[in-house]
Symmetry: C2
Subunit: 324 residues, 2 copies
């Protein structure tokens, strides 16, 4: 009988902030802990019922490293040889020719239009299941050029702890990413503990059809359905969740609308931004940074709106789980 | 201490099939209970891990009455006077003129194109929050012409029990409806215990913007994003859930692709169809039935594919909660 009682007591115990052990004590950690405590304490005038505890997180630059290039773009570039092998006529066509040349400088100079052509060619034209298999195979083998580790190890340890802390307090943690929904779903459960149905991302049209044996499948088509960036983030949140978040975390101008939409709801709401200011342990973004732009306008809106800016350098004790 | 122990024991007790008390004993109930038992019993070779226990339900005609007209269409027709009041020039324009005439026969003869014009005029051009408020207000007051009761009381009692039974066994119950996602979300939590994030439906584009005071809102636009019917159902399931269901329940040709997609996955899977064959207690559909078509082709696919056809007349002991 003792075992039962003990289990019941453990289940009833509240989750403590000690779980945020990779966070330094400071304004950011304090804001998070106070918010969670007041929204989960029965009788508090800021109590939020469990079903409404929605927390949304940008992914690239918020939950894991996005420099020097989004991981998904790395994946697409790595897929180009297979695409060219299947369609040899692409070898002499741009932008495939540049990618096949292996010239890193030239590849880095490819524009948005070129990237869109590469994304369409490498992410579509296959079934949703084939896509997930390919992506998982790549994630098992590919390594980040700086840390020489699988990309999935480049998730930020303080954020993994935060996701866990929120869930332990009844929050439903969602990813809301400009990245491809199907790509992120291929590893989100394993890396973040976030299941596919809680990944909101940029999504293409899929088309239901039958293979030669009459078995149904969904074909990924090169047609955009939801561009889940900037204003697309609150739009995607409404489409896929249908509730306004109480907690939102981003790191760039692409997250501005998600944070605005979150904090426009009745209190209590908490909005946060990761500020990449740590060149030594990760990256310090500046005006020339191509991805993850953090403009002066965003910083002044954050101050005006009382959003919490998290300094990677000062607020995070360690950045990756593999650090000592 | 005794209280704790008791609670722990109650929580640990498995859910029993006695909860399906509005179902008659027969092949349908047997198929459901056996499926749930084998997929939730640890060690069974058909065991399905809790996170993969996805069950999808069509709404109109599967969870509640869809005759003589979809409830949402009733709502839109009732909204027309308010729309015409705001835009008086519509009063002399079709199809608004016919609706304003109150001539039930003429209204019943309106075609799909006319209905689309009415749906666009009555469901869009307002914020998502205004829409939800309007819909809830109507649902509180409107009554079905046959039973003289709120539409929300016309949910089928055996299906409410089934939703509850599945959830008690760790299944995640989703609505996958051709009806408007925002409309169904306005009452799904209250009526079915299904939260907004588990309602997949036909959805329009929303547009993020700011009101005069600078407060952000989402405007419902008259532009279709996801047509969640027929092939759109598996497409919507992939978009919003990202997992193939293990259990799917429909009632018409519009659900065929959802059932095909479900049963095309590795076993175990269960697909079911409500057959409306009870003119006395509800409706018996025939070849002239406009909504909820159950074609001969669907019936033969059901037989061939081993889908369970549920006879409303024989399998359901009672249909509504308000029946004695």
């Amino acid at each position: 009988m003792r075992q039962w009682v003990l289990t019941a007591l453990i289940l009833a115990a509240p989750a403590h902030a000690d779980e945020l052990s990779s966070w330094n004590d400071g304004a950011a950690k304090k804001a998070i802990v106070e918010f969670v405590q007041k929204t989960t304490t029965q009788g508090s005038d800021k109590f939020v019922p469990p079903e409404e505890r929605i927390a949304t997180f940008d992914q690239d630059g918020t939950l894991w490293v996005e420099h020097p290039m989004y991981t998904q773009v790395m994946y697409c570039l790595d897929r180009v040889p297979a695409v060219v092998k299947a369609k040899p006529e692409l070898a002499q066509k741009e932008p495939f020719k540049t990618v096949m040349s292996g010239d890193r400088e030239k590849i880095a100079r490819l524009g948005m239009k070129d990237l869109e052509v590469i994304l369409a060619a490498t992410l579509t034209g296959m079934s949703t299941e084939q896509f997930a298999d390919e992506a998982r195979k790549w994630l098992d083998e590919a390594k980040d050029p700086r840390w020489k580790r699988p990309y999935t190890e480049l998730a930020y340890q303080p954020m993994l702890e935060l996701l866990q802390y929120l869930r332990a307090n009844g929050y439903h943690t969602y990813i809301v990413t400009g990245g491809g929904q199907d790509f992120v779903r291929a590893y989100a459960e394993r890396v973040y503990g976030i299941p596919p149905e809680q990944v909101v991302g940029t999504a293409g049209v899929t088309k239901y059809g039958y293979d030669k044996a009459g078995k149904p499948f969904l074909l990924k088509e090169p047609k955009l359905l939801l561009n889940d960036d900037k204003a697309g983030k609150p739009e995607g949140i409404h489409l896929m969740i249908g509730r306004r978040p109480h907690f939102a975390f981003g790191n760039s101008d692409g997250d501005r609308e998600m944070l605005e939409y979150t904090t426009a709801g009745d209190a209590p709401r908490l909005a946060l931004l990761v500020h990449h200011d740590d060149a030594e342990r990760e990256y310090a973004y500046d005006a020339k940074t191509k991805v993850g732009t953090f403009s002066d306008a965003l910083m002044s809106e954050a101050k005006k709106s009382n959003w919490t800016v998290v300094s990677m350098k000062n607020d995070w004790k360690r950045i990756f789980a593999f650090e000592p």
